[in-house]
């Protein structure tokens, strides 16, 4: 078996969708409803993305609105003719040049429990979601410090508490949601530090009240958090985390509206877990590796692919939707997925262009109604420049390579003028996380130091593999006799 080397046997479908969260799953379901052949990849074992993540490993799950929505989505996928490749890690995405416009333009290679899986398609929909942003502070690499999204996964998917005594810190709706979840689960929450102040939330009340269902949910979370014994500290952030081998103590202190540390009384708590998140950043590595054009949007989580009204990027046939194309939340992600599915139906001629236009206009109106709420939440989660500026010189910024801010500043002062040059000089972004957890911070540090816009610093050049994979997995099982040997060139 030499499936890796034999390109003739790679299956061809109409559409490949990467990411089975709300956006990707909806795109796949809509496209397949009109008979398009669709292959849906996700590295997690089940669909749902992070927001509707399925319970795993024997945990029956907790019955709530997210669980119901996720179960509904998974049931629809089960009943559809989508070819699913869950538990598969896509490591390569290639654009294929062909004269025939109907020829497959994209090839995707993944590894999964059963070995290699490859596919080719005319259209590629990227719905790869977001990562958590944690702006560095001393001690953030200690075991016991983890993201807000990580705590959500532990609570909702694995059925385990992130710690016995915890402090929560960060910003945005996820902070409130995790606080309510932990309090509800009976975990001792010592303190909740919000970068925002009550006024920042109140100013967004008109937009929030425009979505009564979501507003009611957020209100219930807030009430539960307020009723707990947790110390509420608005306008505060983590000053440092301390501990010998694991986290033992968290110190919180006041910050200004931009997250900049301010003089004032500090608060220390002895805890075994610190749950912290400062918003979300886009996972746009697929559109980056395919050299689509991107622009920087502080509101929507950083670098986002440029798309037209159909969510098509500057690479023909490549679509980008969901939080990976700009952090806007589940409602807009689901709608964008449905819209792309309709566009693809029309592109292959499964429905008339006129019908698709009417259907997409209806979705556009729904999206317009969802946008004020989404923008209000994005505003609370956007990167705060002052917070990044407050990072102390000895603080580790790149976790993989243990690089401090002082080392990054020194490389910038030496000659690094772009993010790729910084990588060459320091190895920043070269570790196994591939710059996912330091990129947003490092780019901002460089932009500030060089007094350049973020566009002038750029993104790291996209390179395969998209995720670390072992060579053994990629090679698979093969016999040397199976390797096709090309005929020698004539003498």
């Amino acid at each position: 078996m030499s499936t890796v080397l034999d390109t003739t046997r790679v299956p061809v479908v109409d559409v490949i969708v990467m990411g089975a969260g709300p956006a990707g799953a909806e795109a796949a379901l809509t496209a397949t409803a009109q008979g398009l052949t669709v292959m849906l990849f996700d590295e997690q074992p089940q669909a749902g993305g992070q927001v509707w993540r399925a319970p795993a490993g024997g945990f029956p799950g907790k019955a709530d609105a997210d669980a119901a929505a996720g179960d509904g989505l998974r049931a629809r996928i089960e009943a559809s003719s989508i070819r699913v490749a869950f538990g598969h890690r896509v490591w390569s995405v290639v654009r294929q040049v062909a004269a025939d416009p109907a020829a497959p333009r994209f090839r995707v290679d993944a590894v999964g429990p059963g070995g290699n899986l490859s596919a080719q398609a005319r259209f590629l929909v990227v719905a790869t979601g977001a990562h958590e942003r944690v702006v560095p502070f001393p001690g953030w690499t200690l075991p016991g410090v983890m993201g807000l999204a990580a705590a959500t996964i532990l609570l909702k998917s694995h059925g385990i508490a992130p710690g016995r005594r915890v402090v929560l810190a960060g910003c945005g709706p996820l902070l409130v949601a995790v606080a309510a979840g932990l309090v509800g689960a009976g975990v001792e929450v010592c303190a909740i530090a919000d970068l925002a102040r009550p006024w920042d939330w109140l100013a967004r009340l008109p937009a929030v009240l425009g979505r009564p269902v979501l507003a009611a949910r957020g209100g219930a979370w807030t009430v539960r958090a307020l009723r707990s014994s947790a110390r509420l500290l608005p306008g505060h952030n983590v000053l440092r985390a301390e501990g010998n081998k694991t986290l033992e103590r968290v110190v919180l202190g006041p910050v200004d509206h931009d997250g900049r540390a301010q003089p004032g009384p500090t608060h220390a708590f002895d805890v075994d877990a610190l749950i912290v998140g400062h918003g979300l950043t886009t996972a746009c590595e697929v559109t980056r590796i395919l050299r689509a054009a991107h622009r920087f949007s502080r509101l929507y989580g950083g670098w986002i692919p440029e798309v037209d009204q159909d969510f098509e990027t500057t690479v023909p046939g490549l679509f980008a939707i969901g939080d990976g194309a700009g952090v806007r939340g589940q409602q807009l992600a689901s709608l964008a997925g449905k819209r792309v599915g309709l566009t693809l139906q029309a592109r292959v001629g499964a429905v008339s262009a006129g019908w698709a236009e009417v259907a997409t206009e209806a979705i556009d109106r729904q999206m317009a109604r969802a946008r004020p709420f989404s923008d209000a939440m994005s505003g609370l989660m956007a990167q705060r420049v002052g917070q990044v500026a407050s990072i102390a010189p000895e603080t580790i910024v790149c976790r993989c390579e243990d690089l401090t801010r002082a080392e990054i500043d020194a490389a910038v002062d030496q000659c690094a003028g772009s993010i790729d040059q910084l990588k060459h000089l320091t190895r920043c972004g070269m570790g196994p996380c591939q710059g996912r957890y330091c990129g947003d911070t490092v780019q901002e540090l460089m932009a500030t130091r060089l007094a350049k816009p973020r566009e002038g610093i750029g993104q790291w050049t996209g390179r395969p593999p998209l995720r670390p994979v072992s060579l053994a997995e990629v090679m698979g099982a093969f016999a040397y006799d199976d390797i096709p040997i090309p005929k020698p060139a004539p003498l």
């Binding site: 075991p143 016991g144 016995r164």
Partner: protein, 92 residues
């Protein structure tokens, strides 16, 4: 410090962690399963040798990469199976 589970696992299996025998809930991902026994530090960072543990739990940050049966695996994406030989020594 151990961390409480919110459910009773249907079954546990024997594994070894750095040579020590222990039992973990079968099918649970390794990172939360190890947390439940109090294993917080999963490896040391290659440059500073500082302790590291699970951070993102969604397969992106690579902080929970450990040796399972001699192969590097992400503890947050690898389900517990019988007789797993787990080593918390990090990539070398």
């Amino acid at each position: 410090m151990t961390v409480p589970l919110f459910f009773v696992p249907s079954g546990t299996v024997r594994v070894t962690v750095d040579g020590q025998e222990c039992s973990l809930p079968e099918g649970m991902m390794l990172a939360p399963a190890l947390m439940s026994l109090g294993y917080r530090s999963l490896r040391e960072s290659p440059r500073a040798g500082a302790p590291r543990g699970a951070f993102c739990l969604m397969g992106a940050c690579q902080e929970c990469v450990i040796h399972v049966d001699g192969t590097l695996r992400q503890a947050c994406m690898t389900p517990v199976q019988e007789d797993m030989q787990i080593e918390l020594r990090g990539p070398r």
